[in-house]
């Protein structure tokens, strides 16, 4: 439980605050329109459907303001950098930006539905009032003419019911009204854009055909332009001559309006558009974000080295002026030769101490396949194709260096950030960097098969050799677990069990088959480090996170002099 609070407490708090603001806005505007005196006559025609349309509109304003912010990744990086003082938990919230973006999107979708249904009812009832289907007061209100006669100024009109015509077929009037008013037309267009954005963002589409998702998502430009224009029609109308025209007295005397001094004709006007107040800031920030991405894209990136590893893994060592990274961060790469508009994220596998940054790219789809093809046909020593680099992004994993003893668990593709971490630890160790408090590392590498990760095995081999040369052979203890073994593997290993190095990886430590027996592992760590604080770091599936969390709690001693395990659930 305590672990949950530490890991998720701030996130939960932020969500509670967000939801509270939503509820507050909904209720405030609901009662504003449901109880306000200037809307008494409007409510006579529309009932509470007026409030039911305006309340979600307020929530929509708020959420449309929020939705652009989590995707300004350069802005987030800037915030992250400026808040180095304010604790990692706060900065880690910035890593959950996409989850927040989706949550806000769900709220927008829900509120759009409520807003639209309420307006359907509004239009229908306005239409009926216009045609005299309701009581005398409704008909009188709807018949109010536009007294001003100034056709050019929309807001100088004085009528209440925005449906002015009765010539068209009664059933088609609502449709006609919606498609000929600014609010109606923009409403339909932006709702359509929203629906297309949502259907192409479903997980199946996103994971299989990212391009469809990405290009369709740009309909948000249409959405925001339409949204800003949506409220400019002065359609929600309130009475403004309340002092002269007392509603309680006059409402039963609609035939006398304008004829008796106490009841002049009630005058109505619409409110100005307000949405742009809410969204103009984020829209400007987002435009800056795209401009910044473009500028970064034009900055020169040179290739220091291009290596094609076995199993179609491409390593790129790149140099960019002014580029500074931390361990465990990622960059976005764009290659105009393959696709002008696609940016793909890759975790960096080099350490910050090196004067270049490197990524290992595995063949995993259209873009990566084409990139590997291009690199394969390059002549020796030539520069690769023009590459745009955006980043680095992500919360750095400096916590790893704070613990005397570290248990690092990398599962599958999650092993990639550990390349950066292990290299950095080794560099810091060699120069005796005082920031490094680590004295012993246990590294657990779990994967189905090592095919795509032979480069990582090479890295471990290199580290192994260096450590032996310095007599530091027990600084790093690593274990590899192959969970995708079959009888063939087992036979092969059995035959060669006498050899010094492992047959699969060539490493001194033998490969284990199957999943790790965590109880044994934790016991061993505890035995070898009886008085230390051990930090456990995982980059892998959530199920494993739960297991490790439990083991850390189980094997931690209450006595502060004995071993204690701290679990850091990282999402590298």
């Amino acid at each position: 439980m305590a672990n949950w609070i530490i890991n998720n407490g701030l996130t939960a708090f932020i969500l509670v605050v967000w939801m509270a603001i939503n509820i507050f806005l909904f209720l405030w505007f609901y009662f504003f329109y449901d109880l306000g005196d200037e809307y008494i006559y409007t409510r006579h025609l529309l009932g509470s459907a007026l409030a039911w349309a305006r309340a979600p509109a307020a929530v929509l304003n708020f959420n449309c303001m929020l939705i652009l912010l989590p995707v300004c990744r350069n802005l987030l990086s800037l915030i992250r950098g400026s808040f180095m003082c304010c604790g990692r938990t706060m900065r880690k919230q910035l890593d959950k930006n996409i989850s927040f973006h989706k949550l806000v999107a769900y709220m927008i979708a829900l509120m759009t539905a409520v807003h639209m249904i309420a307006h359907l009812i509004n239009v229908e009832w306005y239409n009926n009032s216009r045609r005299g289907s309701y009581d005398e007061l409704s008909t009188a209100l709807s018949n109010l003419e536009d007294d001003n006669g100034d056709d050019d100024d929309d807001n100088a009109t004085t009528y209440l019911n925005p449906i002015r015509t009765t010539d068209i077929n009664a059933q088609q009037t609502p449709t006609y009204f919606v498609f000929t008013s600014i609010a109606g037309l923009t409403g339909v267009i932006i709702t359509l854009a929203l629906i297309l954005i949502i259907t192409s963002s479903m997980e199946v589409i996103r994971r299989s055909y990212f391009e469809v998702f990405w290009y369709t998502h740009h309909l948000f430009v249409v959405f925001f332009i339409g949204l800003v224009i949506h409220g400019t029609g002065y359609i929600v109308r309130k009475q403004w001559n309340m002092e002269l025209h007392n509603v309680t007295f006059c409402r039963g005397r609609s035939s006398d309006w304008g004829r008796i001094p106490q009841c002049p004709v009630p005058q109505f006007k619409g409110g100005p558009a307000q949405t742009w107040w809410w969204v103009i800031g984020p829209m400007v920030l987002y435009i800056f974000e795209r401009v910044l991405r473009f500028i970064r894209y034009t900055q020169a990136v040179t290739y220091r080295k291009i290596v094609l590893h076995p199993s179609k893994v491409l390593e790129l060592q790149l140099i960019k002026n002014g580029f500074k990274m931390e361990v465990g961060q990622y960059v976005f790469l764009n290659c105009p030769q393959i696709s002008q508009l696609e940016w793909h994220p890759f975790t960096m596998t080099s350490a910050p101490e090196e004067d270049f940054f490197a990524v290992h790219i595995r063949s995993a789809g259209d873009w990566t396949d084409k990139l590997i093809d291009i690199m394969q046909t390059l002549p020796e020593g030539a520069q690769g194709p023009k590459m745009g680099v955006d980043g680095p992004f992500g919360t750095a994993s400096e916590d790893v260096f704070d613990y005397e003893v570290s248990m690092l668990v990398g599962a599958g593709i999650g092993v990639t950030p550990f390349a950066s971490i292990l290299k950095s630890i080794w560099y810091k160790f060699k120069i005796s960097n005082p920031n490094l408090r680590t004295r012993k590392i246990y590294f657990y590498w779990i994967c189905r098969e090592t095919h795509a990760f032979e480069w990582f095995a090479d890295l471990l081999q290199g580290l192994e050799k260096e450590m032996e040369e310095r007599g530091m052979a027990d600084f790093l203890t690593y274990k590899l677990y192959l969970t995708g073994w079959d009888q063939g593997h087992a036979n092969h290993a059995r035959i060669h069990s006498d050899k010094d190095t492992d047959v699969v990886t060539g490493l001194k430590q033998k490969t284990n088959y199957g999943r790790p027996a965590w109880d044994k592992e934790f016991e061993q760590v505890r035995k070898e480090n009886p008085t230390s604080v051990v930090g456990t770091f995982l980059c892998g599936p959530a199920v494993l996170a739960k297991i490790l969390g439990k083991k850390c709690a189980k094997y931690s001693d209450v006595d502060p002099r004995k071993t204690r395990f701290y679990f850091n659930k990282e999402n590298f």
């Binding site: 249904i117 239009v123 059933q171 609502p174 449709t175 919606v178 629906i195 199946v204 299989s208």
Partner: protein, 184 residues
């Protein structure tokens, strides 16, 4: 964008359109709007489209992810054979279904969304895609190879007894390394 199966997106769009038609229809009928008959039609059309589109097709390439509980719907949809398998039929069917929705405001959005889904299905059909049911995999128990049934008739070949005994003078030449010393 070469490997896209447009039908997947068309399916999501059509399912969403079905729900929007249904919602618009319910609002129209419950509020007794003018032209509520069109709204009633939209309810029926919305339900029909949802039932038709709920079961996802098996993908031509890659893993197919089923929707929860779609198997019964798969069976129903499968039973119509070429009518549901062919995406040209679906494209024109959706185009036809969506038209009455345009006669009333509450169902206009559903009509337009279904129209868009119909266009995407047309694109899918032109590219040669078709609907394939996802059937649960029946793991056939592979029969063990025939020769396992018969145990070997003869013992494995062994060197003659003289060489089998551990010879203390010649440990290298011994055929076995007995863990328990062999007493003569």
């Amino acid at each position: 964008m070469g490997k896209i199966e447009w039908a997947m997106w068309a399916n999501e769009q059509a399912l969403a359109s079905g729900l929007i038609l249904l919602t618009g229809g319910i609002v129209g009928v419950a509020g007794q709007f003018r032209g509520w008959q069109f709204a009633a039609y939209a309810i029926a059309a919305g339900v029909f489209v949802c039932l038709l589109e709920y079961p996802r097709s098996k993908r031509a390439k890659g893993t197919s992810v089923e929707r929860t509980g779609q198997y019964c719907f798969t069976v129903c949809v499968k039973s119509f054979g070429p009518l549901t398998r062919n995406y040209y039929v679906r494209a024109f069917l959706h185009a036809a279904i969506c038209v009455p929705g345009g006669f009333m405001l509450a169902t206009v959005l559903g009509c337009v969304c279904l129209g868009i889904a119909s266009i995407i299905y047309l694109a899918a059909a032109i590219r040669g895609e078709h609907w394939e049911p996802i059937v649960p995999r029946k793991d056939t128990v592979r029969p063990p190879p025939a020769d396992i049934k018969n145990p070997p008739q003869n013992p494995p070949p062994r060197p003659p007894p003289e060489t089998r005994r551990k010879r203390v003078e010649d440990l290298e030449g011994a055929a076995y390394d007995n863990p328990i010393p062999v007493k003569d």
